[in-house]
């Protein structure tokens, strides 16, 4: 890429107006002040030639590449995808042409040249079992690679639920001893962008914020950008009125399902899931899981695989109750035993009863 980003965008048919609109939308989605849109546009448009673009290193650990698929496919070739032109993505196994030693070289060069300044993106969890042998790249365990890359990073983005919270690999019984990035790295700013996969605009929004302000956006208690994870799916769901009216789909093909009623009974985890799906939607705003008739799985929350099943309503038991029958037997036995004890006491009192006569009282 030659010259500032704005020129590149212009060559690709993106007008200045469209670019400004995009920046303003992004800023408003992130609940930033109106002036931030302009600041973002200026910061990104002014990004100069290749050598000075901020370096981004993307390391994949125990992951399925779904996060990369999500980012690269869903909005491409929209303006959103072009935000990647504002950065220098120096290492991304799926996207890069290099392989083997060349790829490793690119990684180490980027880490060396941009020490202390690069943004590190991690997708996938880090296995600690068997000294990290479950997942290795270039003869190094993920744990070693993470520590090495994190040392020189300005900030770390934990991309997807696996990097943010452990995700599927950490699901019970967690055979590989998988942990999240924040379980290991304690001395760097980390932002979590959970989701399985995460929404692309959340990713680009965080990148734009980093490019513009040189820092990570405001986060919630789980390390997620508040702007995108500030409200639950349930609260922003277009099917919410049906929940309030008590209109539910009972199966996936009943009248309620056809009428688009609430999916709570079918296990929707929308009430406890913080994400932007209900407002931002997927595939360039085409649809999202609930709109397509399936409840929310809660994929942007920690341990969503161990939440008692995707098709169980939140108010239902997470596991089958096991103690009920035994408790009933013990309770009944205790009741019967006590009733015998009570009867025994009663008859003992009866037999110990002494009749008091008038003569006794006159003694």
């Amino acid at each position: 890429m030659q010259g500032p980003l704005i020129d590149t965008l212009a060559r690709q048919g993106v007008t200045r107006r469209a670019f400004m609109k995009y920046c303003a939308t992004l800023a408003s989605m992130m609940a930033l002040p109106p002036a931030a849109g302009r600041a973002m546009a200026e910061a990104m448009a002014a990004v100069p030639a290749a050598s000075r673009r901020p370096s981004v290193i993307w390391l994949p650990f125990q992951e399925c590449t779904g996060c990369t698929e999500s980012i690269t496919r869903s909005h491409s070739p929209s303006i959103e995808g072009l935000i990647f032109d504002a950065i220098s993505l120096d290492y991304q196994e799926t996207l890069m042409a290099a392989a083997g030693h060349q790829a490793e070289e690119a990684l180490h060069n980027a880490m060396k040249e941009n020490a202390g300044k690069y943004l590190l993106i991690i997708d996938g969890s880090i296995p600690l079992g068997l000294d990290g042998a479950y997942s290795c790249i270039a003869g190094k365990s993920n744990l070693e690679s993470l520590k090495e890359a994190a040392a020189g990073a300005a900030a770390i983005v934990a991309m997807g639920s696996c990097a943010a919270y452990g995700g599927i690999p950490k699901a019970n019984p967690n055979p590989t001893g998988a942990v999240s990035v924040s379980d290991i790295i304690k001395d760097k700013p980390i932002i979590n962008i959970p989701g399985c996969p995460p929404i692309p605009v959340v990713m680009t929004g965080v990148l734009a914020h980093f490019l513009t302000f040189g820092s990570l956006p405001e986060m919630d208690s789980k390390g997620r950008p508040k702007a995108f994870y500030g409200e639950t799916i349930h609260d922003r769901c277009y099917r919410r009125p049906f929940y309030d009216q008590g209109k539910f789909a009972h199966t996936f093909d009943d009248e309620g399902a056809r009428n688009g009623w609430c999916l709570f009974e079918l296990g929707c985890k929308g009430p406890v899931t913080y994400n932007a799906c209900a407002t931002v939607k997927w595939n360039a705003g085409t649809s999202w899981p609930v709109e397509s008739g399936h409840g929310c799985l809660g994929c942007s929350e920690p341990d969503f695989w161990d939440g008692g099943g995707f098709y169980k309503a939140l108010s239902m038991p997470a596991d089958p109750l096991k103690m009920g029958a035994a408790a009933a037997a013990v309770g009944a036995a205790a009741g019967v035993a006590l009733s015998f004890a009570n009867r025994g006491k009663k008859s003992a009192a009866k037999s110990a009863h002494e009749t008091t006569t008038l003569a006794d009282l006159e003694k």
Binding site: S221, K222, T232, D235, Y243, D244, Q245, G246, F248, F264, E265, P271, V272, G298, E301, P302, D303, F304, D306, G307, G308, A313, L314, S315, M316, P317, A318, D319, L321, K322, M323, G324, A326, A327, A328, V330, G331, A332, A334, G335, V336, L338, S339, N342, R343
Partner: protein
């Protein structure tokens, strides 16, 4: 433990323990109480209109003449919060789902806004009866730890449930988990406190009505 792990625990292991203790306690106490029995009354029964166990069950659900005026808070407040509790517990859609999952029984739900309103009224009624209990010297004198404790056990699920729905104080996931936990505490203590009247009230009324009915006294 994060919020989702806490929620999953109260929906899983916690619920299992609570329901287990509840079932154990209820069966134990019911069997113990009803097996105590009563001595056979060998006297010939006296007939009197309205004197029977069944009559007493219904009669005692209605305030005696003049009592509502004399003790309005006890009667109106008491009715309001008992009826309110029944509506909130048994006619809110997520609660019906739980009952359906545990017993297989289900029925239509009421709109959640209506449940919300009833919850507020129920909580208000409970606060009023509590204030009355504190204010009236006789009631205060008669109250034991068990009374304050059971009031709290009953109030907490209402409060946490309402706070969860209204998104107040804590994030929804935490509040929902606390709500379920408070219900579990209620389940655990119900068989062993005055709250057991939920199971014994009609039985004891029947006993009293039957005994007095035998003597020809409609009470």
């Amino acid at each position: 433990m994060n919020d989702m792990q806490f929620l999953t625990w109260v929906r899983g292991t916690g619920l299992d323990i609570a329901v287990g203790i509840f079932v154990l306690g209820v069966l134990w106490r019911l069997i113990e109480i009803y097996s105590l029995g009563r001595k056979m009354d060998l006297s010939p029964p006296r007939e009197a209109a309205g004197a029977s166990g069944w009559h007493t069950i219904f009669r005692r659900s209605v305030p005696p003449p003049g009592m509502v005026k004399r003790s309005p808070v006890s009667y109106i407040g008491g009715y309001t919060f008992h009826i309110g509790l029944a509506i909130v517990v048994f006619l809110f859609a997520p609660h019906i789902l739980l009952i359906k999952d545990l017993t297989g029984l289900s029925w239509p739900a009421l709109p959640s806004q209506f449940i919300d309103l009833v919850t507020v009224i129920t909580m208000a009624a409970m606060v009023v009866v509590l204030a009355d209990r504190i204010n009236k010297p006789v009631k205060r004198y008669l109250s034991t730890f068990g009374d304050w404790f059971t009031w709290t056990l009953t109030f907490l699920p209402l409060l946490t449930g309402w706070l969860a729905v209204q998104h107040l104080l804590l994030p929804y996931t935490w509040m929902l988990a606390l709500h379920i936990l408070s219900v579990e505490l209620l389940l655990i203590f119900l068989p062993f406190t005055k709250l057991f009247h939920a199971f014994t009230v009609f039985g004891s009324r029947w006993y009293i009505g039957k005994i007095n009915g035998h003597r020809g006294v409609p009470v």
